[in-house]
């Protein structure tokens, strides 16, 4: 068995040049490429019949994925899987990837990092690349070897790319691997939820809003049942005091250990716009008097719409100068701290307040404003 896995390691990523629809390598290379002669075991009833292979090939052909939106490293991984014909060998390759994943630091094995909808326990962590602040890196772990393998694919395939690239990866790519991974959205789809959580966390890193201010409660639609949280979670009591056992419509108040639904991120849409895939392509000037004066425009907009009692707009773009997302906007005006005290925020949750501000500054977000750090209070709170 170990000789098999070492043969698999010989497959280098350089094979990514072609994306074969049908495997171009015979399924027996492992046995015939070695100088030592092997006695092929008689074909046992457990080995894979031809019909299943054809089924896999059909699935791959049916998967319509635009490969160009996938990060290069992920494309390499896909190519590698496509050179492996037998499903059993594919699973071995998957396990092999999982074995390469370094264990996750236990302090990250928290609810905030747990993927909902896995019968096994899966944790995912996203953090900024130390060298390249626009890039996201991931770490993950699982107690299930196959899930760990899938997590490893995602970790290796997606790490080191900007959040927007990560967020645009379509789940359908997994069909190309030929693993018969289901993509039916359901609370039990570990792979799908893993990818979504990674994408959310990547975008979250770029929202500039602190983690503690985000709760996945009031905006969550179709949340996964908290019942899949991992049975050994100490927060559960026999009497079911679990506050994050949410149904679709129930709201249990602000839960700071985020009960991510996997479906909605409060600022997700806005942030994708705000970052703009074209950060490397240079500046998009806003139609409103060019790049200068953004601070002034923000002030005016907020003053007009929110009639704030207090308003502070601080340009902190200098703190972010030099990372890829900013490069196109070298003149600053990309990151701001906002402090707004307004009666308009009364009765609104933190999430709704931020959304309100973002909505008002849409134009700026689409013309080079990168991120906002918002402190939104009502007059009584200030």
């Amino acid at each position: 068995m170990s000789s098999l896995s070492s043969s698999l390691r010989l497959f280098s990523p350089k094979l990514r040049q072609t994306f074969p629809k049908s495997p171009f390598l015979p399924s027996k290379p492992f046995f015939f490429s070695s100088p030592i002669s092997f006695q092929r075991l008689p074909r046992s009833p457990l080995s894979e019949p031809l019909r299943a292979q054809q089924q896999h090939q059909r699935q791959q052909r049916e998967a319509e994925v635009d490969l160009s939106v996938l990060p290069p490293r992920l494309q390499e991984i896909i190519a590698l899987f496509q050179t492996v014909a037998e499903p059993k060998a594919k699973y071995q390759q998957l396990l092999h990837y999982g074995a390469q994943l370094p264990p996750l630091d236990p302090r990250f094995k928290t609810d905030d990092h747990r993927v909902r909808g896995c019968v096994s326990q899966v944790w995912v962590r996203a953090f900024r690349d130390a060298d390249d602040h626009a890039a996201v890196r991931f770490e993950a772990d699982s107690d299930s070897a196959l899930t760990k393998g899938l997590a490893a694919l995602l970790v290796f395939g997606l790490s080191g790319y900007p959040a927007t690239v990560v967020a645009s990866v379509p789940p359908g790519f997994v069909h190309l691997l030929g693993l018969q991974q289901s993509l039916t959205p359901s609370r039990n789809n570990g792979f799908l939820n893993m990818l979504k959580l990674m994408q959310q966390k990547a975008l979250q890193l770029y929202s500039e809003v602190g983690d503690s201010e985000i709760n996945g409660v009031s905006e969550s639609k179709g949340s996964n049942s908290g019942a899949k949280d991992g049975v050994l979670d100490d927060k559960n009591t026999i009497l079911g005091e679990k506050t994050d056992k949410t149904g679709k419509d129930s709201i249990f108040g602000e839960v700071s250990s985020a009960n991510w639904s996997g479906d909605s991120l409060p600022f997700g849409d806005l942030m994708v716009d705000g970052h703009g895939m074209n950060s490397a392509d240079g500046v998009q000037k806003s139609s409103n008097g060019g790049i200068g004066g953004r601070r002034e425009r923000i002030r005016q907009r907020l003053e007009r719409e929110l009639s704030p009692v207090e308003l502070e707009v601080e340009d902190i773009s200098y703190q972010h100068a030099g990372h890829a997302g900013v490069r196109g906007n070298g003149d600053g005006e990309t990151h701001f701290n906002l402090r707004v005290v307004s009666k308009e925020f009364e009765g609104k949750s933190l999430v709704k307040r931020h959304r309100l501000v973002y909505d008002l500054l849409q134009e700026e977000l689409q013309s080079g404003l990168h991120a906002l750090s918002i402190d939104a209070k009502t007059p009584s709170e200030a």
Binding site: E48, R51, Q92, S120, S144, V231
Partner: protein, 485 residues
């Protein structure tokens, strides 16, 4: 040295194991295993929480063998042709369906009954005058009578059709529970109950101020009956208890539990989901106040289940769901209600499905529940033995013995391999369908110290050959993962 049970050099595994258990071959010493038949030792403490993994070990006590011959035309072989769904390939392999505790397959007789209903006499029941409706109503009420006869209820009106057992339990919780429980009252359950038997009572307890008490497991991994007796008190108002556990495979002495509960004035609700499909259940003998089951686990369609309730209890209970059918007269600001069972059957029921359930009961009665039970006992022992022989496999629940009969299911874990991994590869690489997860029994898993388990569960249309395929596939799967560790 105790060799693994299945490593017989020359003969194919399924034959050798069957022969070993066959009464035709009386106990002559086998070269490897001198006391081959003396497997079950009721005294041996096999179960330790945590990391005890099994070795095959023998003792000198023995078990009587089942009287029927275990030859090639077993009940499984005889009934298999009735189930078209079993004859297919998944992932290129013949399907081996071992997830019957989750849901059972349906024989053609049931499919035909469903079809016939929709093709010939589909019509709303209890309402209209015309012939189609009369026929539908007849068949629907006949199905009710069949269910009553199946469990030996005294009258058909003690059977309330629901959507499934879960809804039936909710019915009792919200209707009986809300009007009978108050602050300080206790609801007694076991730690091994299905979520459907726990959660409705949690919800109702919150509303009424009652509290839930749980009976734990013994070291043999069965609910602790002695502890149950101790926990019973005048404060106990209802005992909610399973008949057969969907994870442990154990059966509880319902007659005794009911007798003890009644003596302190507590009612008993029996969850018979895993017992009714597999054995004779006689509510006159067991004497529960309420009993619930689902059609889909007993060869019937999904979408229908039933609640059995003693008529004096049902008559005193307020409605659960409101609507048509369950009323007598409706005015603007109040309504009067029908007698049970109608009182608890609001709206148009799953008519075709109830009739399908009736057809399933006919089919099962045609075989005979005792015969099904006896056959499954063989399967249960064979499955347990075969699993036991695999190194590093830990089975949950009691070991079978003369006094302890297991259901034909095994929940298990393999050391260092996640059950989901096992189930995935069994499916993708072998076409064997088992379940992995907590089986709707999270408190039980927590008390066993695990987060999930794998479970293979059989029904009367499975056979020993399929168990052999499963065991071979499991070993192959285990090897697959071990090679990566």
């Amino acid at each position: 040295m105790m060799a693994s049970f299945c490593h017989f050099p020359a003969s194919p595994p399924h034959q050798s194991l069957s022969k070993l258990l066959s009464p035709l071959r009386r106990p002559r010493p086998h070269p490897f295993l001198p006391n081959v038949l003396c497997i079950f030792n009721p005294n041996r403490n096999r179960i330790r929480a945590g990391s005890q993994f099994r070795r095959l070990s023998l003792s000198s006590s023995s078990i009587a063998l089942p009287p029927e011959e275990l030859d090639s035309s077993s009940l499984g072989d005889l009934t298999r042709p009735d189930f078209p769904i079993l004859h297919q390939e998944v992932n290129g392999f013949n399907l081996v369906y071992l997830d019957n505790a989750a849901t059972s397959q349906k024989p053609t007789a049931v499919l035909k009954a469903l079809n016939k209903y929709y093709e010939s006499y589909n019509s709303n029941v209890h309402r209209a005058i015309h012939s189609l409706s009369a026929e539908a109503t007849d068949e629907y009420e006949q199905a009710r009578t069949k269910v009553a006869a199946f469990i030996n209820a005294s009258k058909p009106k003690e059977i309330v059709f629901t959507r499934n057992a879960t809804e039936a339990i909710n019915l009792v919780a919200y209707s009986w529970g809300l009007s009978n429980l108050r602050s300080g009252d206790e609801i007694l359950l076991t730690i091994a109950e299905h979520h459907s038997a726990i959660v409705p009572w949690q919800l109702v307890a919150q509303k009424t101020g009652a509290s839930l008490k749980f009976v734990g497991l013994t070291k043999e991994e069965v609910p602790d009956i002695e502890q149950l007796k101790e926990l019973l008190s005048v404060k106990t108002k209802i005992v909610v208890i399973h008949h057969v556990s969907n994870v442990l495979g154990s059966a509880l002495p319902i007659e005794d539990v009911v007798a003890w509960s009644h003596s302190v004035g507590a009612k008993v609700l029996v969850d018979a989901c895993q017992s009714i499909p597999h054995m004779v259940v006689d509510v006159q003998k067991l004497d529960p106040d309420f009993l619930v089951a689902s059609s889909h686990k007993m060869c019937g369609p999904t979408g229908v289940g039933f609640l059995y309730g003693k008529s004096e209890l049902l008559s005193a209970m307020p409605p659960f769901l409101g609507g048509g059918e369950m009323i007598a007269d409706v005015f603007q600001d109040y309504s009067t209600f029908a007698e049970p069972p109608s009182r608890f059957e609001a709206g148009t029921p799953a008519i075709g499905e109830a009739i399908g359930l009736g057809a399933a009961i006919d089919y099962l009665m045609g075989i005979g529940m005792q015969r099904i039970h006896d056959y499954e006992k063989e399967l249960a022992n064979y499955l347990y033995l075969s699993l036991l022989a695999i190194p590093n496999v830990r089975i949950y629940g009691p070991a079978p013995s003369e006094t302890v009969h297991r259901a034909s299911l095994c929940s298990f874990n393999v050391e260092n391999i996640h059950p989901t991994d096992i189930a995935t590869i069994l499916d993708k690489q072998h076409g064997v369908a088992i379940r992995s997860g907590h089986h709707c029994a999270q408190p039980l898993h927590r008390s066993l110290g695990i987060s999930a388990s794998a479970r293979a569960s059989l029904y009367f249309y499975n056979n020993k050959k399929e168990i052999d395929v499963f065991i071979r596939a499991l070993k192959d799967t285990i090897d697959f993962f071990i090679s990566f560790q």
